[in-house]
């Protein structure tokens, strides 16, 4: 309550120190924003590098994936083109694919040669056989290169089935050549079978569809194109007459051939291969691992020079070619030993050891460890001391490149580790205190969150295709050190460097 005579004074005096507590949610929001603002401020370099690395990794994966897809689709198109030509000798290419054109030209030359040599009806049979053989060769080569169960082998399998059909058709064609005119009347029957044939071609992909369209067109026009792609009337040319006998094949023969194709298609193994082959699959493998490392922090502050750390981690990750992405969870313990520290005093002949102890104090919301130094003791008699251990749960995120030579490999790994303080404890062993008394009282406060940057160079040996062991050296650097010293006019060791070794077991699935 205030009692003022002047209205301005009344308000000024009352409002000058007037306070309204902000809602708790607002306070939490502000402090959280502040926390992240600090993180961004302290680690903006690391964040930029990490984001850039992740983007580059994703971009590289996307790029390699795209080029792999393009290569495999080109292979499939090539094979389909071969199939189309091999099984339809009377058709012409309608695809722009270079592979197809080459294949087509080779076949065309072969066929033309045969036609010129024999000038007989059977020349088309010979060309058919020649084309089939070539197609088989191409496909068997593809199979050898691809190593078996993949989309190429699937297509090859189709080629074989179509070849069978084609051969059967050819046999029938020869057998029935004498009754060509009669059978031409059965065009309608063949028309009925067209869809089934189309199914077989359609199975081969786009090239098959294109060929099908020509096939349909020629059926309607009553003739087949010759190898140059020109359509001729069946009554005008002997060769064409013979070719058109394909149209007039008996229904039973076609059914038999198509049944053979269907039986293969319905085969469960082939169906399985089909689905696997058509699936767009990234060439990424996954692995799990177990790692351990030990290192000593080379702290800039003399007081904390001896600071060993050990860590163990469970890894999971993905591998694309030679690149590996590691993540997981780990546990990291750091010990700051303060005993047996050698201090050189003004008296150079006397080496002394500080006798220290920690005092846990609680100030408002924070817990501090007050390091009080009581005195010095001769180093020869001071074997006991005190240490503090800090335990962190950490999440690594690392990108690695593996260079392999036979069963050996070199692995260069770099990344960041996000460390969250889980607990801190103090071990005190009484020591005989004697000598000088000191009043130095550095304040020690464990940090709740730390980010480290690490680089590993490992040598690995692959015992099997799945299991490998790696060992090497590790360098870590931290931003924001565990300790903050005040009253000593010593800069806190913000960027300590840890050097040590690591061991890693990896199992690839």
């Amino acid at each position: 309550m205030s009692k003022k005579s002047n209205i301005e004074e009344l308000f000024k005096d009352s409002m000058d120190d007037f306070r309204v507590d902000p809602p708790k949610e607002t306070s939490k929001k502000i402090l959280l924003a502040l926390f992240w603002s600090n993180i961004i401020h302290h680690y903006k370099g690391a964040i930029i590098v990490s984001v850039a690395a992740v983007l580059a990794g994703v971009g590289a994966l996307f790029y390699f994936n795209q080029s792999t897809e393009n290569t495999s689709s080109a292979k499939v198109e090539n094979l389909n083109a071969s199939n189309a030509v091999a099984s339809m000798p009377s058709s012409s290419p309608s695809n722009n694919s270079t592979a197809f054109s080459k294949q087509y030209n080779a076949q065309k030359t072969s066929v033309e040669k045969s036609v010129n040599d024999s000038k007989q009806v059977n020349s088309s049979v010979a060309s058919n056989s020649s084309l089939s053989t070539k197609a088989n060769k191409v496909n068997s080569k593809e199979n050898t290169q691809s190593g078996g169960l993949n989309s190429s082998s699937l297509v090859s399998y189709d080629v074989i089935s179509i070849e069978k059909t084609s051969k059967k058709l050819t046999k029938n064609k020869i057998k029935k050549s004498s009754t060509t005119d009669k059978k031409r009347k059965e065009t309608d029957n063949v028309e009925n079978q067209k869809d089934e044939l189309v199914g077989a071609y359609g199975y081969m992909g786009e090239v098959g569809s294109a060929e099908r369209a020509k096939y349909d067109k020629n059926l309607k026009e009553g003739g087949f194109p010759n190898l140059t792609g020109e359509s001729e009337s069946p009554s005008n040319a002997t060769e064409t007459k013979t070719d058109s006998s394909v149209d007039s094949l008996p229904k039973e023969a076609l059914k038999e051939s198509l049944a053979a194709v269907d039986s293969i298609k319905k085969d469960s193994t082939v169906a399985k291969l089909d689905s696997a082959g058509s699936k767009k699959k990234l060439p990424i493998s996954f692995f799990a691992g177990l790692g351990a490392s030990g290192y000593n922090w080379q702290l800039s502050n003399e007081l904390y020079k001896y600071s060993p750390s050990i860590s163990a981690e469970l890894n999971v990750g993905a591998q694309y070619k030679s690149f590996m992405l590691f993540t997981g969870v780990g546990y990291h313990q750091q010990t700051i030993a303060l005993e047996n520290r050698v201090w050189t005093t003004l008296d150079s002949e006397m080496v002394q050891v500080p006798i220290t102890y920690f005092e846990k104090t609680i100030q408002k919301d924070s817990t501090y460890y007050l390091w009080k130094m009581q005195g010095y003791e001769n180093s020869h008699s001071a074997k006991d001391g005190r240490s503090i251990s800090l335990n962190y749960l950490y999440v690594p995120l690392q990108l690695a490149y593996a260079y392999r030579f036979q069963k050996h490999q070199l692995l260069l790994k770099a990344g960041v580790g996000m460390n969250f303080l889980t607990s801190s404890s103090q071990t005190t062993v009484p020591a005989d205190t004697s000598g000088l008394l000191s009043i130095e009282t550095p304040l020690f406060e464990p940090k709740k969150f730390l980010l480290d940057f690490n680089v590993h160079l490992n040598y690995g040996y692959n015992f099997t295709n799945h299991f490998s062991v790696m060992a090497g050296v590790t360098i870590k650097q931290r931003r924001g050190e565990i300790a903050r010293l005040t009253y000593q006019n010593i800069d806190p060791p913000y960027r300590p460097l840890g050097i040590g070794g690591s061991l890693q077991f990896i199992y690839k699935f």
Partner: protein
């Protein structure tokens, strides 16, 4: 400046979260009250106070320790509130010409006996333009010239806004006191 505050400021300069938190604890209620006094709307005030603290932590390294830190942080908050008002175009100034008001008789005011919260509520109830000028002139100590520059108005408008604000407040206080007297008589 106390040693504690100096440590807090040094810690904040180093972006030490612990000290930033201490600074927040120390000044949050003060800054929130200022924001509420200017902006009235609690949501706007919450946003403004957050914005203020972020600016304080960013600019604290520029604090030269010559003046009072309280004054520095208050001025920063007020400026931030004015920016918010300007962005939202909340402060509408009706008068462009200074009209002397008859009720300019501060020296004749009687003694008042009113609690701070009531006074705070009275300020909050003022129209935006009146409230802004009253806050700037009476409580935060800006001159009419400074107010005119900050708000983009002329000095006359600032003076008339202030006079009207004071009249409204005086009327309210008189009304309140009359009611209090009546209640007192009833009790007696």
């Amino acid at each position: 400046m106390s040693a504690d505050l100096q440590d807090i400021i040094k810690g904040c300069v180093k972006r030490d979260y612990k000290y930033q938190k201490l600074l927040y604890t120390k000044y949050a209620s003060l800054l929130y009250a200022i924001c509420l006094r200017y902006l009235k709307n609690t949501d706007d005030a919450k946003d403004a106070v957050q914005d203020c603290f972020m600016k304080v932590y960013d600019k604290i390294a520029g604090f030269n320790h010559e003046g009072s830190f309280d004054g520095w942080i208050k001025r920063l908050t007020v400026n931030n509130c004015l920016i918010v008002l300007r962005e939202k175009k909340k402060a509408v100034f009706v008068d462009e010409i200074y009209i002397p008001i008859e009720m300019e008789r501060d020296e004749e005011d009687e003694g008042y006996d009113i609690d701070k919260q009531t006074l705070f509520n009275m300020i909050q109830d003022l129209p935006d333009g009146y409230r802004t000028v009253f806050n700037l002139y009476v409580i935060d100590g800006f001159s009419h010239k400074e107010i005119a520059e900050k708000m983009g108005i002329n000095e006359g408008t600032s003076k008339s806004q202030l006079a009207r604000a004071k009249k409204i407040l005086r009327d309210k206080i008189t009304l309140l006191q009359n009611e209090q007297e009546k209640q007192h008589r009833r009790v007696v």
